[in-house]
């Protein structure tokens, strides 16, 4: 169970939005993590390095937050490995097929009022809510 934290959510969200605006203004790129990561190895040579650096920044940013956080970060323990693996497969397959994830469709796409992103976000939100209900309340798996 977690507590509702509207202020840190808004501030964190605004930072994510700022990162997306800066990446579009400076690099001309959409800050969609699945799209950036999906072409790490397949993009043309000149198009690869910035992707690695963006993801490195992502890791460093979360690490920096953990360092500065007043309360120590407690990763989740005891979550079933089989669920993690299945979830990873589905997230990789689905985001590749849909051409985006929470950041690419959910933030950048909706900010541009893209009909495709609006539809995708509605569908993945509903699917995720239904899945969480099944996993937590019907099957009580985790």
């Amino acid at each position: 169970m977690t507590n509702f934290t509207p202020w840190s959510a808004l501030v964190g969200g605004a930072l994510i939005g700022l990162a997306a605006v800066l990446l579009l203004w400076l690099n001309g790129r959409i800050a969609g993590v699945s799209g950036i990561a999906g072409r790490l190895w397949f993009a043309s040579r000149g198009d690869r390095a910035w992707r690695w650096l963006f993801l490195l920044g992502l890791v460093l940013g979360a690490g920096l937050w953990a360092l500065l956080s007043p309360t120590p970060v407690e990763p989740r323990h005891g979550f079933p490995v089989s669920l993690l693996l299945l979830a990873g497969l589905l997230v990789g397959y689905g985001t590749s097929m849909a051409g985006g994830c929470t950041s690419g469709h959910g933030v950048c796409g909706i900010a541009r009022l893209s009909a495709r992103s609006l539809a995708a976000t509605g569908v993945f939100m509903l699917a995720a809510i239904a899945t969480t209900y099944v996993v937590r309340h019907l099957l009580a798996l985790a």
Binding site: W25, W50, L53, F54, A66, G88, G92, A120
Partner: protein, 153 residues
């Protein structure tokens, strides 16, 4: 050094900076914690609406900022904006989004937080991320095979 090489070098640093701000945002908003994400998705449990505020904050800034940025002729360090043209809603989009949603709801990770959480040594990411790469690889391979197969008469 010519201007294009200079611009592409600057683009590397700005890529790193944008990733850093993004990762910081995921940390501050606690979206790197899958319990927080599942607390939002579990609308019949003790609902935690935080994720909605994260998306709201991000959308507000991005919607205003994108509008200003896309009015410019070109980005600072690239020859053009790499933005996909408006397309129609099709089956791969909806099926892909549904599969992604199921995976997201199973464990509480979408790609950004899963990668970012490596920054504080999250062991779960070491299971989730290889599976995610495998899933994306499988989809690309299937799509390429389908594209190469001759159309049946």
């Amino acid at each position: 050094m010519d201007a294009r090489v200079c611009a592409s070098r600057a683009g590397l640093w700005t890529g790193l900076l944008c990733g850093l701000i993004f990762g910081l945002g995921l940390g501050v908003s606690q979206m790197v914690d899958p319990r927080k994400v599942l607390g939002f998705l579990d609308i019949t449990g003790a609902w935690d609406a935080s994720l909605m505020f994260v998306m709201g904050g991000a959308l507000l800034v991005a919607a205003i900022g994108f509008r200003a940025v896309l009015r410019r002729p070109a980005p600072r360090f690239s020859e053009r904006f790499h933005v996909s043209a408006a397309g129609s809603v099709d089956a791969p989009l909806l099926i892909g989004a549904a599969l992604f949603g199921i995976g997201w709801g199973l464990a509480g990770y979408c790609p950004g937080p899963a990668i970012a959480s490596l920054g504080f040594g999250n062991a779960e990411a070491l299971c989730f991320l290889p599976a995610m790469v495998a899933g994306a690889g499988l989809q690309r391979w299937q799509a390429r095979r389908r594209a190469m197969r001759p159309v049946a008469a």
